[in-house]
Amino acid sequence: MADAITVPQVQSARPALRFLRIIPGVLLLCAIGYAGKLLEQNVGAYAKAHHWTFPNIEYVLWAIVLGLTISNTVGVPEIFRTGVATYEFWLKAGIVLLGSRFLLGDILKLGGVSLVLVAIEITGSIAFMTFLGRLFKLKPKLTTLLAVGSAVCGVSAIIATKGAIDADDEDSSFSIAAILALGALALFSFPVIGHFLHLSDRAYGLWAGLGVDNTAEATAAGALYSDAEGKLAVLVKSTRNAMIGFVVLAYAIYWASKGQAQAVGNKAAFLWQKFPKFVLGFLLISVLATYHFFNKDQVGSLANLSRWAFLLTFAGVGLRTNFREMRKQGLRPFAVGAIGEVAIAGFTLALVVGASKIFGW
């Protein structure tokens, strides 16, 4: 998730102009997402009618692949870029609406287990990435950014930490490039590994939420397995996102104690500023659904609206991923990130398999 991401091109523009500028890109997200949905429905039916053996490809994958194809062939024209950047916004709105499908009891039960796993994952990931950074003699603040990006929530954690520890722009660009490239790889490799290992639905959803860094990629990696796993991956990832303030605060205090960052004044205000508000929205909608504020049909409508929002997100994930741009950043951050991510994926997989045995999933 990237709560700190803003749309720089429209910052200084007037509100009406800002709104107009996002329209072409949002329409492109809608067109690609809807094309993905149509392809899911029609390609399978066409193949079946012609007796072809063709795997059932979900709309999630179609939308991502269509976006990737455009981004890496003709590119995304300037006029669409501001609107395409809103895909994180639709992701967060979709997550809030998805709260209607979770009863509070489920959240407490699953959230309790995932909270323990998330705490172990964050501690282990930060320790390992710090070790790797020292081993590869990376700059300490670059190591901090990579550690936070891979332990908590990808790009937004890096952006939030960058401001809090006064890191260089170059270091944050390095870290963001590495996290995005690895997120794209995880998106495709997690479902394949999950199927190969015959992971149970719950174990896979937990793993995707724990092991994939960006919320958009974690949601997509879960949804590529099935809708239910997508929901679980979102819940676990949101638990990870909720930890962002604490981790950034700890690093801000650490770097301030070394005289290399500004001291943190009001810690509670700092935590609130960094806390992802969509997690609160998700919980609030879940509370309303638990106490029957919405009837069954309305819950169905909210869930469908959430899927439409995710459809725009998946199109945006594809459009945002440009392999040429990533290559320009060089191999070094990618190599460090890749070693770390593979280790973290293995570590979180072991955690989930261990938890599955303990809880009998």
Partner: protein
């Protein structure tokens, strides 16, 4: 970034983050569905 640059502009204090706008939009949509303005959202 200097301390001066970091000082909060009084106008910014009330500016909502992207995150919060997403929550606002989701709740407005939820309330419209609850109020029956949108009877059914198809998939």
């Amino acid at each position: 970034m200097s301390a001066q640059e970091r000082a909060v502009n009084p106008g910014d204090r009330w500016k909502l983050s992207l995150d919060t706008w997403a929550v606002v939009l989701a709740f407005v949509a939820a309330l419209l569905i609850r109020a029956g303005v949108f009877k059914h959202v198809p998939w």
